[in-house]
């Protein structure tokens, strides 16, 4: 790069509030004399490819986008780094819910039944729970029927709609089980989508991490350091910053880590979503 551009972040526009969030961050970074801008993509796949092409310096990645970026980078002899994440991105689980009155008390009983999931590319509501069931001897689509609720495909399940539809199908008796992220079970209970005591957790996945700020090895190191330093300094106690953090759903930024992506890496392989080089293998995925 000859002319320095502002440190540029790629993010996926899964909701209009994404503009509010990054405009707010941009303003806030400006008050810290940090030149920052952002580019919005309509899909994580396009964002990952743009990142590899050098169009942006950092990407705000879904866990699945991290997996693909890491694989694309590795295939090109490069390295991706997970540099920051939200406190709320760490140690998540997904749950397989059944109706409380259901006769299903053991995962094995899902054989021959219908299981609702989120979008085809949702790590939390499709890939991780399906791999979790596969690990327990239930092959998705063979041992049981998968009813997918494809809301905003290519946005990696960021939109809550697919999970909500899955749970509605469960409540309506259209399916025997539904897969959602743990936090959404509580959300759906609070908003009334799930009636009190209407569901129980049949099974829970292992612990995993969610979104991450990803950089590649050619990112300007000092600027990346400053970017991380500024993120970590954002305080929920600060009334100026708090609305931004609330919109983005965190209380504090944490240093990045990759230990929480192991389960998803395995799920991606097991379900054949991406190849080892980051190629998209899954059928019927719009590009």
């Amino acid at each position: 790069m000859t002319i320095t551009r502002p440190f540029t972040l790629g993010a996926v526009a899964y909701d209009p509030k994404v503009v509010t969030i990054w405009e707010g961050f941009k303003d806030w970074f400006a008050t810290r004399d940090f030149a920052f801008d952002y580019v919005l993509y309509s899909s994580y796949e396009a964002q990952a490819e743009a990142h590899l092409a050098g169009d942006v310096d950092v990407t705000w990645d879904s866990p699945l986008a991290w997996v693909r970026t890491r694989r694309l980078a590795a295939a090109a002899g490069r390295e991706a780094r997970a540099v920051a994440m939200r406190d709320t991105d760490q140690n998540l689980t997904s749950v397989v819910l059944v109706r409380s009155a259901s006769d299903i008390i053991d995962v094995a009983q899902l054989a021959g039944r219908a299981v609702a999931t989120g979008a085809i590319d949702s790590p939390q509501a499709t890939l991780l729970p399906l791999a979790h069931l596969a690990d327990r001897g239930l092959d998705p689509g063979t041992s049981f029927t998968v009813r997918r609720f494809d809301v905003m495909v290519t946005k990696h399940g960021d939109h809550v709609g697919g999970e909500r539809d899955a749970v509605r199908a469960l409540m309506d008796g259209e399916v025997d089980a539904a897969c959602v992220i743990d936090g959404n079970q509580l959300l759906f209970a609070k908003e009334g989508t799930i009636a009190p005591d209407a569901v129980r957790v049949l099974s829970r996945t292992g612990v995993y991490d969610h979104c991450t700020m990803t950089v590649l090895d050619d990112a300007p190191r000092f600027i990346v350091e400053r970017f991380i330093e500024l993120l970590l300094s954002m305080s929920f106690d600060d009334p100026e910053v708090r609305p931004l953090l609330e919109l983005e759903g965190l209380r504090a930024w944490r240093p990045g880590r990759t230990s929480g992506y192991e389960l998803l890496e395995q799920a991606v392989d097991r379900l054949g979503f991406y190849g080892a080089d980051g190629t998209i293998l899954v059928e019927g995925y719009p590009r």
Binding site: D87, T93, G183, Q185, A189, R200, V201, R204, R242, P243
Partner: protein, 405 residues
């Protein structure tokens, strides 16, 4: 500080059914870093609580193998839940009589917050044009509002709408004319405070409340005068340009103190006399009753305005000359208009006469003369209360619109 650990017992409750409410209550009086123990029998409690703690910024530590009745784990209180209190400012006090309850210039950022609440910093800054205490405040607002709230009457039952009408048709026509006149005046008395109501900073809640109940009063006045006008099957009478022009000058007044002065001290005050006249002289019981009810409301509207302007004039001595100029200006603006609708004047005579005979009309005429004297005397007394000299009061009273309001 004692580090004794509280235990929150959730019974069979899960976080999908309200357990978080109990946990929040248990954490409320704990310091950041303190732990509470969690006990409960919900089958997925540990999963729920871990998720919830992550979302709330608390730390969760589960016990490895809880035996019967033991805690399933411990929540360490995080700092995020109390972040909103940092820098939160008490905006005055709910009780207006408390020292410092009413701020002289409440910031826009307090916005719609309840007076006395702790206001989290940041957020919208709605602009309320009437945002300075000295411009709007009076301690009398709260008791007058309470009085108004207690005195609300139901137009449907407070008046006997089936009372017989035994007077001459021409007397009834006079009543219809008077009602037609009253209604448009009541409209002005509704619209003017309604326009200012939305501009008052919510910190001055008692002022808002008084203006709001005033608007409701005027709505009822409009209703009962309309019902009375049409009670005998007549069409409403004439609304004149002169009357509406006089009222328009009230609508056009942008200054709150001036508008309140012209509308209430001068206009509604004059109406108190007029309604007293109707209560004494109307030939039928429903008109007398309506006049009685509306007069009590109007007296309250006048009392509020006098109290507010008395205080305002005290803190801003120039106010009086501003108000005097406004009366003079209004007088000049209305000089070219007809003043009181001649039909209204005649109708008042006929109404007070109660019958169409020379003797009765003479009596009616005398009552109307007496009314005008009473109106003028009462106006002077109100002006004197605001600190105008006898000479000033005399002069200003004489310049008041002939249209009464």
């Amino acid at each position: 500080m004692t580090r004794e650990r509280t235990t929150v017992d959730l019974g069979a409750l899960g976080f999908d059914g309200g357990a978080d409410v109990l946990v929040k209550l248990a954490l409320a009086d704990r310091q950041v870093g303190d732990e509470i123990a969690v006990r409960g029998e919900h089958p997925d409690l540990a999963g729920h609580v871990a998720t919830w703690c992550r979302q709330q910024g608390h730390r969760w530590r589960s016990t490895d193998s809880p035996s019967d009745g033991d805690a399933i784990g411990f929540i360490e209180r995080g700092s995020a839940v109390s972040a909103r209190w940092i820098g939160a400012e008490r905006c005055g006090h709910a009780d207006p009589t408390t020292e410092g309850a009413i701020d002289a210039a409440p910031p826009a950022s307090w916005g719609l917050a309840a007076r006395g609440a702790a206001v989290e910093p940041g957020g919208p800054t709605p602009q309320f044009r009437l945002g300075v205490r000295e411009e709007v405040w009076t301690d009398r607002a709260a008791p007058l509002y309470a009085q108004a709230a207690a005195a609300q009457w139901d137009p449907a039952t407070a008046v006997d709408w089936s009372a017989p009408i035994e007077h001459d048709l021409r007397v009834e026509a006079a009543i219809v004319q008077v009602m037609t006149f009253l209604i448009e005046n009541e409209e002005a008395a509704l619209v003017v405070p309604a326009r200012f109501l939305g501009q008052i900073h919510p910190h001055f809640r008692e002022i808002q409340q008084f203006l709001a109940v005033t608007v409701a009063d005027e709505a009822r006045h409009i209703e009962v005068f309309s019902r009375r006008a049409t009670m005998s099957g007549h069409d409403l009478a004439l609304s004149t340009v002169g009357g509406r022009t006089s009222l328009q000058t009230l609508l056009d007044e942008p200054d709150y103190a001036t508008a309140s002065f012209l509308l209430s001290v001068m206009g509604e005050g004059t109406f108190v006399s007029l309604l007293g006249f109707l209560e004494r002289h109307a030939p039928d019981s429903s008109t007398r009753r309506i006049a009685h009810l509306t007069r009590a409301d109007e007296a309250r509207h006048v009392a509020f305005s006098l109290a507010h302007l008395e205080r305002h004039a005290h803190v801003e001595p120039d106010l009086r000359s501003r108000l005097a100029r406004a009366v003079e200006q209004r007088h000049r603006a209305l000089q070219g208009t007809a003043g009181l609708n001649e039909d209204v004047f005649d109708a008042l005579v006929v109404l007070a006469a109660g019958d169409i005979t020379p003797e009765r009309v003479r009596t009616g005429w005398q009552h109307v003369q007496a009314l005008q004297v009473e109106m003028s005397d009462a106006r002077r007394a109100r002006l004197a209360r605001l600190g105008f000299t006898a000479g000033e009061s005399e002069a200003l009273s004489s310049l008041h619109t002939r249209n009464f309001m």
